[in-house]
């Protein structure tokens, strides 16, 4: 019936769109509500947290929780440690990964496909299967309770990044590299002058995704880090959760959790388009 009447079809389409939009908004509220509640809890007094019926909007908002937090908990050292780990891994690791991707995609090396497949096979080994022997290795090196076990293994490159950069490089014509060779450019020069500028967007996207993964990592840090001032931010907030729950100081716990979440949220909102594009790519290349 609507097929015979184009106007009716359009009206019907608009009706469906409105219904879908309403559903999507309800869904979006469900997605965002816990995060908003986290923030409002951080701004409540302890009494308001345990008030019945519940207080939805703190009055007045207790912003001082966010200043009290820095002195009462090792949040600052947590941020510093997380930054040290995430930045050193992603910066050095991106260099080693892009050099390897360059060699695997463009240079002549017998058996390079075997090397690449071997590295890919490493992806199939989950971290929990490696954590015990790695812990033993690093405890023999005397690195327990330092940030080194969280940094050193990843300086050697990230196979996911190598995979995507290699893919990306296959669209760069070989002739450009051949021409540079004929002009007498050395391989490090070719990498720096020709390859690097070309793959920069791909490196940037992978860099951000990797940074997020490391910033949010939890299992490896809790295995190695015992001293509060040496812990990464995620471990710091997890310990606060245990410690301050007995004192029922939920505003403080939530305030620290908001701080743990915020930097990545800001990075995401700034680089949203690049992140979403490179994630969408994962599905099609997987």
């Amino acid at each position: 019936m609507s097929r015979t009447n184009p106007l009716g079809a359009r009206a019907q389409n608009r009706l469906v769109n409105t219904a879908v939009l309403a559903l999507l908004i309800v869904g979006a509220l469900v997605m965002i509500a816990p995060l908003v509640w986290m923030l409002t809890t951080a701004l409540k007094t302890k009494a308001e947290v345990f008030a019945l019926p519940p207080v939805w909007i703190p009055d007045p908002p207790q912003w001082e929780t966010f200043t009290r937090m820095w002195t009462e908990a090792p949040v600052l050292s947590g941020i510093r440690n997380s930054l040290i780990v995430a930045l050193s891994v992603t910066i050095v690791g991106s260099i080693t990964s892009s050099l390897a991707a360059f060699a695997l995609a463009k240079l002549h090396l017998p058996g390079k496909n075997v090397i690449f497949l071997g590295l890919l096979a490493g992806l199939m080994v989950p971290f929990p299967a490696l954590m015990i022997p790695q812990f033993v290795m690093f405890s023999k090196a005397g690195w327990v309770d330092t940030l080194l076990p969280l940094i050193v293994p990843y300086l050697f490159g990230n196979i996911i990044m190598i995979f995507f950069l290699r893919q990306y490089l296959s669209s760069v014509p070989d002739s450009m590299i051949e021409a540079a060779k004929i002009d007498g450019a050395s391989y490090p020069q070719i990498f720096r002058v020709i390859v690097l500028p070309m793959i920069r967007p791909a490196i940037a996207a992978q860099f951000i995704l990797w940074f997020m993964t490391i910033w949010n990592d939890y299992l490896a840090p809790i295995i190695y880090l015992n001293t509060p001032s040496r812990q990464t931010l995620q471990v710091v907030i997890a310990n606060l959760n245990v410690q301050y729950a007995t004192q029922r100081d939920y505003p403080l716990i939530m305030a620290a959790s908001v701080v743990a979440l915020l930097p990545i949220l800001v990075v995401f909102l700034i680089f949203q388009r690049q992140i979403i594009e490179s994630v969408a790519l994962t599905g099609s290349k997987g």
Binding site: V16, L24, T96, S97, I132, S257, F268
Partner: protein
Amino acid sequence: MSQSASLTTPPETVPGAPPRKPAVRRRTGSRLHRVEQRWALAFVAAPVIGFLVFTVYPIGFSVYASLTSWNGLGPMTFIGLDNFVNMWGDEYFRTSLYNTFFYMIGIPIGLALALGLAIALNRKIPGRTALRTIYYIPVISSLAAIAILWQWAYNGDFGLVNQVLGMVGIDGPNWLMNTSTVKPAIIILAIWKGLGYSMLLYLAAIQSVPASLLEAAALDGANAWQRFRSITLPMVAPVTFFLVVTNIIAGSQIFTEINIMTPTGGPEYASASIVFYIWQKAFKYQQMGYGTAMALVLGMLVFVITLIQFRLNRRNSFSID
């Protein structure tokens, strides 16, 4: 052997010469090639060394350690396959394995929701970019912070979940303290956290479905459900497959939520996962030998699932760019 020999020049021409590589591909700049190879080797050296030291060696060590009784510091006592035999009699191991599989109930639910969401967001709706961003925020959020938040949200008296349920007259349980609700509670959290990621991949796949195909089907009188069943669903099948496998791999390693929300493994160990149990045994009770044995079993499981993915993916060479 005989095939390759027949392709090259007859060997008897140089009887006394050492077996050299047949000069099938003549290269004029062999020195230049050697320089290139040396650089290529230098460039791939770092990941290869990292792989050998931090993956291959630990696996080899694990295989040996799994056959011993060992506290991580003292001597390793060789006990053969005892660890693996003990595993099957270990009630905690079985419970944590059962729980880990139970959590995977959330995978099909999450994927169905994500597909519906992607189809909805594919319509020309005002504010769809903003909505997409909101649905994606839990994905990028720190899992530790999210777990802390949800632990508090599931609080029986003062948590958000029961306060909202209370508004519609439902008296919610104390979610994390109850053997029958602790696993569903964690599944809900996992779906909430992962929805945006699956949605995004589905959305990318749906947008690559040619609009002309759907229009032609509509002209032929196919209704919305038929178009979904016979066009959209088959077109997104590779993404579904990818998501199922990656979700199973990630799900088999679920740990952070459990560790933070139920630090003791939940009431009657009802929330403990396999990685939680491995972690507890190895790092709380110093049973490193037993821990590595269980970790190897987990590793084999994940390895096999991934291998199946690679095989099947090669077979259906769909491409959705």
